[in-house]
Subunit: 345 residues, 2 copies
């Protein structure tokens, strides 16, 4: 299995180091061989190669079985001709990973850190499925004059259909409920979105479909988050709502994500950013990255037992009271990873 | 002073009744004369006149000194040719009320109802200034075929400038900090927005300007809401974020809003919806509507003492432990209003 590792910027290289160690343990314990290939990406690639997503990195990703990403960006590159984020958008488009999947689950170890009252976050367990390669991020024309600027938001029936299908299939393996989020009282693209969602739902009679307007959804995520099972929404709404949702859990450092195409390699990354303020200090929580590794083992390689072993080891270490500073603990990125590795062994 | 009253749908007529009673008390106590004129709007107008914003209502609003709005919409009109929301958008555009102002303040009486932990919501006091007549709500082309749908998001420099100016002037009378929210790492319109915000800020050296990406803002509103003073953002982001922000306070039934044009009549309305589930039962909390009245007295008519009297009466009644069911109390819309009226007298 060829895995391209894009460590990226800030704390990216530190958590990527953890990921590699855990993958090596999986190799040893379960007799697998992962070919791990480092490539330049983001600000690091701007520094070394003059652009955030060099052709060599692109070629390696396309030829891989899965891509692991640390984090990109930082104030250092704010004035760059092409910013690190451009590279991220280009990577998503190149891999055609239209389905971004973000599980939102409240860990016992972090529940006290949630800004929400305990009775509201208790038992929260849902997944946000965000459309990742369409909408206003990628539509044309984008126009800019001195006097005005224009963005375009286009969705095709096909684009909506495949992401909604993805959400329904996921819901079948979970709580059998899909919440489709749009702004159908204002946007043409949302009207089409809602129509297609209704059409798709007819093919999944065992899954309940509800519609929510994006403004109402922003409220419901805080008021009654336990009502959600699978949320599906378009690119920009998904950006906003998945970040809002991640705060519920009390630690951004715990949440993984995966992004899937129809057939090519998938992309796995923690939802947290590059956190330049704590970079290089060994403070980063590696859990989000390690859980992204677990998602890769299961979803790209079908290695369920191995994925479960990683998840179980993380849970056991947390349960034993060990955690990094973001959760109030005293572990470093390395010492926390040591404990996960020891537990697995 | 001519005030057009658009009671609208659901609980709209009930809270409008409270507003009128309080305005009559203000007339009597302070020797003013308000000419209150009822007009059809929303679903009620669809039922009576076949459309949500009849020409007669438009003419009355344009000829008024201020417009009070209850609430519009409800499932009954979901299949209408023109839905009630269309009327609301047309009203905003007709009055050219580009600046929607929503104070977000945590009342002691409702703090225990906030889904957020007490230490996080304590002392929260900020204002969301939402651009209300531009952006993706009103830009063209909007296109729809069987296979795809397109919306357009355009902002002109002038549109951005006037709303950002509005926010800076407001900040001068408050905490002297403006948080401008955009998605400048992806959208052309946001890049222009950010440029103009920086230009405008040069004219207000006494006010601090910070920029926040919309996804980060959705997180910060829950993580550290007390960091905000004046938030300014474009129409759709403002729709999402102001609704998210309103949940912090624990009761949507408490929050007023005002919408201002450059010179014509302003529009005042509670932020809550028409709540068809409790309509006609006397359960609606009239506080948001009464506070909208107080905003009108102060902002449209310069009647500061009168506005303060309304605010003080509401605060006193709440402090004495009287509230409607949404706050855990036993008052009805009418009996709560009785108490406010008695306190004022
Ligand atoms: C960096 C940015 C372009 C990106 C996005 O908006 O998609 C980020 O916020 C994310 O959610 O991964
Ligand atoms: C009803 C709808 C069109 C409206 C909006 O999106 O502006 C509402 O959500 C609001 O915020 O007043």
């Amino acid at each position: 299995k060829r895995v391209v590792c894009l460590a990226g910027d800030g704390i990216g290289p530190e958590v990527m180091q953890s990921a590699k160690r855990v993958l090596q343990v999986v190799e040893r314990l379960y007799q697998h061989k992962f070919h791990l290939q480092d490539e330049l990406f983001g600000g690091a690639a701007i520094d070394e190669a003059g652009q955030p997503f060099p052709a060599r990195t692109l070629a390696a990703c396309l030829a891989s079985d899965a891509v692991l990403l640390g984090a990109v960006g930082g104030p250092r590159w704010d004035q760059a001709a092409e910013r690190p984020e451009k590279g991220l958008l280009a990577l998503r488009k190149a891999l055609n990973v239209f389905a971004n999947v973000r599980p939102v689950q409240v860990d016992e170890a972090a529940a006290h850190l949630s800004p929400l009252r305990e009775e509201i976050v208790k038992g929260v367990n849902f997944v946000v499925v965000r459309e990742l390669t369409g909408g206003i991020y990628f539509s044309f024309p984008k126009e800019r004059t001195a006097e005005q600027a224009t963005d375009t938001l286009t969705y095709t029936r096909r684009e909506i259909e495949r992401i909604v299908e993805y959400a329904f299939r996921l819901a079948q393996s979970r709580g059998r409920k899909v919440t489709s989020i749009d702004k159908a009282n204002v946007l043409e693209s949302s009207k089409l979105w809602r129509e297609v969602a209704i059409e798709v739902s007819a093919r999944y009679p065992d899954v309940e479909l509800e519609h929510l307007l994006v403004d109402a959804a922003a409220m419901e995520l805080i008021r009654r988050p336990s009502r959600f099972d699978v949320i599906v929404t378009e690119n920009l709404f998904g950006d906003i709502l998945s970040d809002e949702a991640s705060v519920l859990t009390g630690s951004l450092g715990m949440l993984p994500s995966s992004s899937h195409s129809e057939s090519g390699p998938a992309l796995y990354e923690p939802i947290h950013g590059s956190a330049p303020d704590i970079a290089g200090q060994g403070k980063a929580n590696p859990v989000a990255m390690l859980r992204s590794v677990a998602m890769m083992l299961e979803q790209s390689f079908g290695l369920e037992a191995e994925a479960q072993a990683v998840e179980n080891a993380i849970a056991a270490v947390l349960k034993a009271g060990h955690s990094t500073a973001d959760l109030g603990g005293t572990e470093t990125t390395v010492s926390f990873t040591d404990r996960v590795v020891q537990t697995m062994e």
